[in-house]
Amino acid sequence: MSDVRDLMKELPEPDPGGPDRVWSRFRRTRQRQRITRFWPVVPVALAAAAALFLRTGDTPRALELTAEGTQALHWSDQVQLEFAGRGTVSGTDRQAIVNWEQGRIAVQVTPKTGTELEIRTEEGVIRVIGTAFTVTRDRLGVSVDVSHGTVAVDCADGWSGRLTSDTGGHTCLPLRPALLLGRADALADQGAPLATRLLTLDRGVAAADPDSSVHTELLVRRMHTRAASGDRAGALADADAALAGADTGRSVEIRRFASRLSLYASCDAARPYLAPLATTGNAEDAVLLAECTADPAAARALLEQALPQLDGTWKARAKTALTTLEGR
């Protein structure tokens, strides 16, 4: 074998300047091809230009897209849109920009026509590379699903990549706290896993102004979600933060939830939440307060006042507490 290789070495190396010469020739040919491709259509285009000038063609134009049901729009021979929602489309036949605000939009772009199309949303930009795909902007964010070809997606949340029909879709997450709150609620409505909901709530809490009511709302939702996932300490921390933040009229609800949660630990832990509830007149709160009150007379008074309003297990619980007090 080595004798063959040695003999082969007698053959000269290719001329190192060859690739450069081929490259410049290739570039010239490609340029010529691009020009000649348009030659046959030039007379037709010139003749049609005047007629098209007033209507469509490459003169920039803009349209508002608003539809409650699904509507189709033939933007150009290269771009077809089907949408249900709200947005605008602007640009020319081969260079269009869709600003999509809400709902679902399906796009079909004829490949290999040099058409550029972008869908811009608050959460990201989706660029077409000759394809058909759907963009849905809803409470969850902006979801992109590709039917054919490839799209490039640049999410404002930092994710970017290319999607094909094989890779599956992707959702660009909202960035604004209010939209993250909406996504968290949508996830809860869908019965999404607690971990997924917590990720969104964490993002929202981190992004929101601590003095804003959105921040408080996000904290309240995270308190419930953390408690459901068994993180009582985290839930109580959220309760404290929510009580310290903007008043959203939820303080009673937060204290009530936190008091029940902290009773798992002790009355001492629950008392700070229970004490302010004494004035609410809620009979169940009164029972819990009585159970955690060191003064027997005050406890008895609370129970006797609450008893007529109670039934079921709460009534039984109040009677047991009274019996215990009488035994003291």
Binding site: V22, R25, I129
Partner: protein, 197 residues
């Protein structure tokens, strides 16, 4: 980037872009693969073939037909097949040119082995090429890819779109035929080189 080896992701992505019709991607792809194509054309075409012509034509066909490729993994062997076909076509044209008085002279002068080479090495190269030329195309390709371009057997198999076993057996036969050819023109012994030419 190495023809016949696993493609880096960036190169694979460029191929996917070119297939999908992203603007400028196919020209970019041509630039990346030009050195490979040029070497293939030079090595497989030999001194009588204009490697620059063949490489240029291969790239132009690539641009025209890129949408027919099924994916990045298939691309190198697909491009190699275009180069082979282009070389074969140009060889036919070169054969025809020999029958047109004077047509081949200018070409041979232009595509010579390089004036800087001394006479002995030029003669040696011509003899090696003459033996290679005498081999069937299937054997010549394997020999050039493995013993000249130093691809592994597996890489050559991938480029040629052949099973590894076929490449190995072709290589064995090709090497033997090459040795036989060299012996046949009394060149195999280095001490007798000066007698050739």
């Amino acid at each position: 980037m190495s023809a016949g080896r696993r493609l880096p992701e960036a190169d694979a992505q460029l191929i996917r872009d070119a297939i999908a019709g992203r603007r400028g991607a196919v020209d970019e792809l041509a630039g990346v693969w030009l050195p490979h194509v040029y070497r293939w054309c030079h090595r497989l075409g030999g001194p009588t073939l204009d490697a620059e012509d063949a490489a240029h034509e291969t790239l132009i066909v690539m641009c025209r037909r890129i949408h027919t490729v099924h994916g990045p993994a298939q691309f190198p062997s697909w491009l190699f097949a275009i180069a082979r076909k282009t070389i074969a076509n140009q060889r036919r044209r070169a054969w025809f040119a020999r029958w047109v008085p004077g047509a081949s002279l200018e070409r041979e002068a232009a595509t010579g082995w390089g004036s800087a080479q001394d006479l002995e090495s030029r003669q040696s190269a011509e003899v090696v090429w003459k033996v290679l030329e005498a081999l069937p195309q299937s054997q010549r390709e394997v020999l050039v890819l493995v013993d000249l371009e130093e691809h592994t057997n597996a890489e050559a198999a991938a480029l040629l779109g052949l099973p590894l076993g076929t490449v190995k057996s072709r290589l064995r036969v090709a090497r033997e035929a090459f040795r036989e050819g060299m012996r046949g023109i009394a060149f195999f012994e280095p001490t007798r080189r000066s007698e050739v030419g």
